[in-house]
């Protein structure tokens, strides 16, 4: 099938307005007769469900958590970008567009990204109207901070809990529609199969996780707002339940998976402490506004720290290597995430890591504390304040900005970041890849849409900080509610989708068989055993640095692990009732296929770009070497039965408004 991105003709800046004006409308009387399923209730799902219901469609929303408010968007910390230019620092829609394209290393679609930048401004207006309590300055107006990869302050925030506040805003809009009966909410439900009728997505089989029952739900369109697949690495900043199952079921039914190897490894996370660790915790990128990243300049100092014989505070300024400031003077500590992560890995690989595993670097607030303290002392009119006074004042300022993050850090590590530098290391955080979608956010299955992190469209090979929240809400509030109409307008005569058809029966039977299969293996190893093993393979070979040999080995190892899984997994308990182990088995089975496709995708992409770094393709200075001549395309994979035999389709990326350049932050 040829991939048609359906990008409208015309000037970049006019495409969306023009397209929106040309989408056929569905009359209110007909909307009432149309059903839409929304899977997932994070920023994208909750906002889409609320908006579609407002417009008059009948919406059914599903989430696996006990409440829509728990979706993992809640954990986003730092902020949300919008081209408001409130700070008067030269920001504009074009600049946000350009930064995002460049940050993504020229592997995203121009028209989608421009649309995102355009609607970013409406998001802030909308959220304030909903009562989202963003941070404000003393004049009562909204405050901003800076994020990596940009030179303006366009990030709106609510302390270190921006995702929470935005999600609760979307949840409140959703609640308003649930109360009106316009949305039917199914919590503790998981989508287990996409149902296709006449080549179109016409419903899902959902499992009620409390009773174990399979339910048939028909609809005229299905929106997958199910987030990313970072948990394929087992250890990631994702929630424990985050999974690829809904997207993977759609993939198996014909939705292409785009750029699956584009994974974001976030530079500032709390390092791994032990074998029993279940997840990694992010320390917001906003900390890089004020924190300085360093390792000892001398190897013997690093060794002494690892042996517990030296304290970081005792290392003199001239013996510290602020390697980001050294390598990238123009952006310093605020280089994009992929660049910062690789630089940390490079230092640790070279033997300068500073915790017992040798895989950690410092994020230091001492300088910021003194700087803010001096400012406060000046404001308060203190004459000749002592260092201790300045420090105390500075700590207060830092606490007001990042208090909850510092507290979170201290709880996990039992170390006080006001007194000694934080230890951080990169961890899997976000997946730029996802289901391929056209300009209307529709996958290659008619009627099946993908929104937010679940699709691939806006971040190319590397996402900039504070852009995930922007994309989730843009897709859910302002894009999909319109573009879904284009598909549904052709469906006004279809009538209710019956669920007693053979298609629904077959889909339900497939779910039952899968469940029975897991229950009957009766093996010897827990689901987590396999998940952890898969995670190790992925992290070592499909992580921050990839090579041909490593990827080929990873593919073989994953295939062997998958066989082992189906032969030896042990799921206890019963199928007809609450059984989290059984649910986990289903998710890990899908990860075991996805992981192989990711390795295959990484192997085929013979270049380094953004978060995808192939060791064979780097400059003498260790920077990523892109190959625009041969790889300026989106890899869209078609499922054919086994991941090894997936078919590659290419969507050529055309840049009409931006010149492709070597990305430089020096």
């Amino acid at each position: 099938m040829a991939l048609d991105s359906k990008v409208p003709a015309g000037d970049l800046a006019d495409k969306w307005t023009k397209h929106k004006g040309e989408i056929p409308l569905v009359s209110p009387a007909n909307k009432r007769l149309m059903d839409v399923i929304v899977v997932g209730t994070g920023l994208a799902g909750a906002s889409a469900a609320a908006s579609l219901a407002e417009m008059g469609y009948n919406v059914k929303a599903f989430c696996f958590q006990d409440s829509p408010r728990r979706a993992h968007s809640i954990a986003a910390q730092g902020g949300i970008n919008a081209a408001k230019n409130y700070q008067n620092d030269g920001d504009s829609v074009y600049r946000l567009f350009y930064d995002t394209i460049k940050g993504g290393d020229y592997r995203s679609r121009e028209a989608n990204v421009h649309r995102l930048a355009e609607v970013s401004r409406n998001i802030i207006d909308q959220c304030v109207a909903q009562g989202v309590p963003f941070a404000r300055d003393y004049g009562g107006l909204l405050d901003n901070r800076s994020f990596g990869g940009v030179q303006v302050s366009r990030t709106f925030y609510a302390k270190g809990q921006t995702g929470q506040q935005l999600l609760l805003g979307a949840y409140s809009a959703l609640n308003r529609q649930i109360a009106k009966g316009r949305v039917k909410m199914y919590a503790r439900h998981e989508m287990q199969e996409l149902v296709m009728v006449d080549g179109k997505a016409r419903g899902i089989i959902a499992k009620n996780l409390v009773t174990g029952e399979f339910e048939r739900h028909g609809a005229h369109a299905v929106l997958l707002c199910t987030g990313g697949y970072g948990n394929v690495f087992f250890l990631s900043t994702n929630a424990m339940g985050s999974n690829v199952t809904a997207a993977w079921k759609a993939h198996r039914k014909g939705a292409y998976m785009a750029n699956p190897c584009f994974t974001q490894i976030h530079p500032t996370c709390i390092p791994v402490s032990g074998e029993n660790q279940s997840k990694l915790t992010l320390m917001s990128e906003s900390l890089r506004n004020d924190g300085r990243i360093w390792v000892p300049a001398k190897k013997e100092d690093a060794e002494a720290i690892r042996a517990g014989k030296l304290h970081p505070n005792d290392i003199a300024e001239e013996n510290r290597d602020y390697y980001l400031e050294r390598r990238y003077p123009a952006f310093g500590n605020l280089v994009p995430r992929d660049v910062a992560s690789r630089a940390a890995k490079e230092r640790c690989d070279a033997g300068y890591g500073i915790n017992k595993t040798g895989e950690a670097v410092y994020l230091d607030f001492a300088a910021a504390i003194m700087r803010y303290g001096a400012e406060e002392a000046h404001v308060k009119g203190l004459k000749n304040p002592s260092d201790a006074e300045i420090k105390a004042l500075g700590e207060k300022v830092v606490e007001a900005k990042y208090g909850n993050l510092f507290q979170m850090y201290e709880k996990i590590t039992a170390s006080n970041p006001y007194k000694e530098p934080m230890m951080i290391y990169p961890a899997v955080h976000y997946t730029m890849g996802g289901l391929w979608v056209d300009y209307n956010l529709m996958t290659t299955i008619p009627g099946c849409f993908a929104l937010g992190e679940a699709n691939f469209s806006d971040h190319g090979a590397n996402r900039l900080g504070a852009s995930a929240l922007m994309q989730g809400l843009a897709d859910g509030y302002f894009v999909a509610p319109y573009t879904v109409g284009e598909f549904l307008s052709k469906d006004i005569r279809t009538g209710t989708i019956p669920t007693d058809s053979k298609e629904f029966e077959e889909a339900e039977n497939a779910c039952r068989q899968r469940t029975e299969m897991f229950m009957n293996v009766n093996g010897t190893k827990s689901v987590d055993y396999f998940h952890k093993k898969l995670g190790k393979i992925m992290w070592n070979e499909v992580g921050m640095a990839r090579s041909k040999d490593g990827l080929e080995q990873a593919i073989k190892d994953i295939q062997a692990l998958r066989e082992d899984f189906y032969a030896n997994v042990r799921v206890l308990g019963a199928a007809n009732g609450m059984n989290p182990e059984l649910d986990k088995a289903g998710r890990v089975a899908d990860f075991l296929e996805l992981g192989e496709l990711m390795a295959k995708d990484a192997l085929e992409r013979n270049e380094s770009c953004g978060g995808h770094f192939r060791e064979e393709y780097q400059s003498a200075e260790g920077e990523a070497l892109r190959d625009d001549e041969n790889f300026t395309f989106v890899s869209a994979w078609e499922y054919t039965g086994v991941p090894a035999e997936a078919n590659l389709h290419k969507e050529e990326l055309v840049f009409e408004n931006v010149e492709l350049k070597t990305r430089s932050y020096k």
Partner: protein, 250 residues
């Protein structure tokens, strides 16, 4: 460290539950409390015993999904932490730890340590929102300045994660802290004013319908709240409620 765990096991909502004893060895102090339970479950699976069911998701203290009454305290010992942020270094080898579900009439047990908190969602649906459509065509975000102190207080109230520790802790199983946090958030912002009266009346009414108890100003909820939501919010809600019931047009 070696521990003795006493854990509430209950096969289903209607089943009779009981405390079961599980000795566990080799717990590391860097494990979070939930990682300790993962570790236990791995061993139970090895022994052919069905693993303990408990709610959890983000494991960084923000989703509000984890719960647990540990040694008689919601989210265990320590202040301003959720169970997932509690680490085993808070315990010592030889300890016996009692682990129970959050208990309240409005939080029925689903299985083992997992409870049903959808009553909270129903309260939110009764008025925990501002009625604005999602067109994006509202006024500019900076059109109405909000005094920083009000915005900060609204934010503090809005940080409630809806975990239910306040209810589990309260001797009356009252949800006043939870409800007042949402009422306060909107009550402190200009955008929340048009619906303020109906909001507080409807949310309090729904809270009562769900079977939550009343507030007797004990203050245990504030102490156990992992987000430090202040009792001040309850006072504000009482004020708003009284004002609304005396002056509402309804």
């Amino acid at each position: 460290m070696d521990l003795t765990l006493k854990i509430w096991r209950q096969a289903g909502p209607e089943a009779k539950g009981e405390m079961k004893t599980y000795p566990i060895q080799g717990v590391e102090e860097d494990m979070s409390f939930l990682e300790m339970l993962d570790y236990l479950n791995d061993q139970l699976i090895d022994q052919g015993i069905e693993p303990v069911v408990f709610d959890h998701d983000c494991r960084e203290g923000i989703c509000g999904m984890c719960s647990l009454f540990i040694n008689g305290e919601a989210h265990g010992p320590g202040r301003k932490v959720t169970t997932c942020q509690l680490h085993m270094r808070e315990f010592k080898s030889g300890d016996t730890i009692y682990i129970e579900p959050f208990r309240a009439k409005a939080f029925p047990v689903i299985k083992d340590l997992m409870v049903d908190r959808t009553s909270f969602d129903r309260i939110q649906r009764s008025g925990g929102y501002i009625s604005v459509n999602t067109s994006g065509n509202t006024i500019d975000a900076n059109a109405i300045p909000v005094p920083k102190t009000d915005a900060d207080k609204a934010f503090d109230a809005a940080t409630c994660i809806g975990c239910g520790a306040c209810v589990a802790t309260c001797k009356n199983s009252s949800a006043m802290l939870f409800v007042s946090a949402k009422v306060s958030q909107f009550s402190l912002l200009p955008q929340g004013q048009p619906e303020a009266k109906e909001r507080v009346l409807n949310m309090v009414n729904q809270m009562d319908l769900e079977g939550f108890g009343n507030c007797t100003n004990t203050g245990a909820c504030e102490v156990e709240c992992p987000k430090g939501i202040s009792l001040e919010n309850i006072a504000r809600m009482n004020r708003d409620y009284l004002f609304a019931s005396l002056s509402s047009n309804k």
